[in-house]
Symmetry: C2
Subunit: 383 residues, 2 copies
């Protein structure tokens, strides 16, 4: 497969044992911890051009470029590459699979070296804070003391917020896209339905399915279907599917009659081929428990920091509605933190952070240019 | 149990074989068809005071009063009774369980007299039109030629619309609450997730579970949980639960940590005790296939009718958003049909039709008063 001039080309996932033992927020110990990661571009001599991209619930380390033989590029390929928003000719881009994940990093599907068995539910509960702790070890191993930026959408934005809270001296800036300082009960509720669907699956077997050749794939598919509804907007569903019916008449009564049903079933089916159900449980719980404020007013979290923030939200995103981003920005303003807020008028719902590339790229590239040049950041962008 | 003066008191569900054979919209034949129903108040001598109330997805014939020994009254008890909106001192109120249901009417959980077995998936696909056809037979058996009104919320409103479309000469008026002329792809998608959750359950067994002593209760519970999220609003969830955590610390990792999780699990668990999973499949499919327009412009459906309509929608209802009610009203106006539209400013989401009793009762009682007195209906209500 040939790739154009503004494509990264073939990339490989790397693996690093980032620590022999990580003390988790819960007090439990986990180790050794491996993180899968990819890097693009070159670290400059003074190590000041590193940008960490954090992925969302179902993402992985493969943010851009092509794996050998693959037809599809990484999940944010439109944003990362030579001349793109995360410009690999200027920046050293890092993305790692989260702790608890299933794409190469240590998670419930990994083998516990102490027992020789898959962790399953023996895996300890992890938090967004624990994910960030593991990332910090990786960054350290890569010889980077301070990141130019930490960027992410959705759960990726939560990690960026956690970086700000727990290690503000280690980043110049953060890019928060379609995210929240904490989940609302509605967000928790949707995650809980996904978890219940997985745990209701006969093949889940209390998380103990790795050796059985059959996991809770139907339950996981249902969880993914719920997710997909919340990632789209009412309007984007109307635009994409309407009430269009599928042509095939099948003998079974409860087949997918409408296009939207077929779409959801396909999304569910393809997801179970690449994702581990237990990881879904652990990661969604970490999201639900995340609370940047720790019961303080949010602006107190930001007080005294001097990082620069870019906060982007999408008008039709009802899963991470704009008010959640606005709350972050308001708290920054109260704390005197330099935050730029941009609301993009998109119909794509929460998915917009993966789809509204043109406007998003414009905002991110200008922001990174300013940050890397040490420009004053007090201006607001017009959008 | 004692009941006050404005309570109906003890009531009993009745059963009627409404036809030996119903020819369904699909062309398939089903029979005999039994409907479970309840009535309240007295039919007046000229049989002009009958009001049919149609229930929503999970409702039943027991709309008001108390079953013997029951602690809870019927599902719309606040709206139906002496002196209430549906005033049983003035009106003869009828409510029947829908065809396909599981609360006494013929449905997939009934025994097929031809085989002596439960229908299961042998039960034919039914439509909102078929439900209304069965209701028409019941009304006929009760000796009523013309209903004063057909009223319903959600799927109940769809039935009222179908009455208007298919038998306009048989009703004076209709009350449509939080409903739609057809489902949007988002509404179909949520129903589809519920169906998938049921069919993913190992115990569903292609609908063939009645003799096994164990149905797809976990899958049905997940379906109900999804439903409940869509019945509430983001705001009502915030008001009711916030991020409140449950106190009990349980040994299991994926327990209900947040109040909202506990609420959803309880709702799911109590639902499976009273509802049949196959009925859930059949009824949701009927809702999804309902399309009042039949590919015509909606106003053509209303042209030439002289029924009076009251259309009520709730601002925070995102499952049946106000634009769906507004579309109905716009089409009525184009068709010259007498429709009054009221938008109630409630935080309760779709559940508002069961909870915003005060405003709803005010609107319904005035509307029924006008309709029953033959008043001119051109005025708009202030709300």
């Amino acid at each position: 497969m040939e790739h154009g001039n503004n494509e990264i080309g073939i990339v490989k996932t790397k693996f690093a044992i980032v620590t022999d033992e990580l003390v988790l927020e819960s007090g439990e110990k986990l180790g050794p911890v491996t993180l899968a990661y990819e890097t693009y571009g070159e670290l400059n001599p003074d190590r000041s051009n590193a940008v960490l991209i954090c992925h969302a619930l179902s993402g992985d380390a493969h943010v851009a470029g092509y794996h050998k033989g693959a037809r599809k590029p990484g999940w944010w390929n439109d944003m990362v590459g030579p001349g793109k928003a995360f410009d690999t000719e200027k920046f050293f881009i890092i993305c790692s699979n989260v702790l608890g994940g299933c794409m190469g990093s240590t998670g419930p599907g990994s083998v516990n070296p102490k027992t020789g068995q898959h962790y399953g539910l023996e895996f300890p509960l992890i938090t967004i804070g624990d994910m960030v702790k593991a990332q910090q070890r990786l960054i350290q191993q890569l010889g980077i003391e301070k990141l130019l930026s930490v960027a992410g959408g959705s759960m990726g934005g939560m990690q960026a917020l956690e970086w700000l809270r727990s290690a503000p001296e280690k980043l110049e800036s953060a890019i928060l896209i379609a995210t929240a300082a904490m989940h609302s009960p509605q967000q928790i509720a949707f995650n809980e339905v996904g978890r219940q669907a997985i745990m209701a699956d006969h093949y889940w077997q209390n998380g103990n399915y790795y050796h059985r050749g059959h996991g809770p794939s139907k339950g996981l598919a249902v969880a993914r279907m719920v997710g997909h509804i919340t990632y789209m907007s009412e309007t984007s569903m109307l635009d994409k599917f309407g009430r269009q019916q599928k042509n095939e008449k099948q003998p079974f009564k409860f087949t997918a009659d409408f296009e939207v049903e077929g779409y959801l079933r396909n999304q569910g089916d393809s997801f179970v081929k690449r994702f581990d159900a237990n990881s879904y449980l652990y990661i969604t719980k970490a999201m639900d428990f995340f609370d940047l404020t720790e019961d303080k007013p949010l602006h107190k979290v930001f007080r005294g920091l001097d990082a620069k923030l870019l906060v982007i939200a999408f008008r039709s995103d009802w899963l991470y509605p704009v008010w959640q981003s606005q709350e972050i920005v308001k708290a920054c303003k109260i704390a005197g933190l330099n935050a730029t807020y941009c609301e993009i008028d998109s119909n794509y719902g929460h998915d917009a952070f993966l789809l509204e590339i043109e406007q998003e790229a414009h905002l991110v590239s200008h922001f990174l240019k300013r940050v890397s040049n040490g420009y004053d950041m007090t201006g607001e962008y017009a959008i």
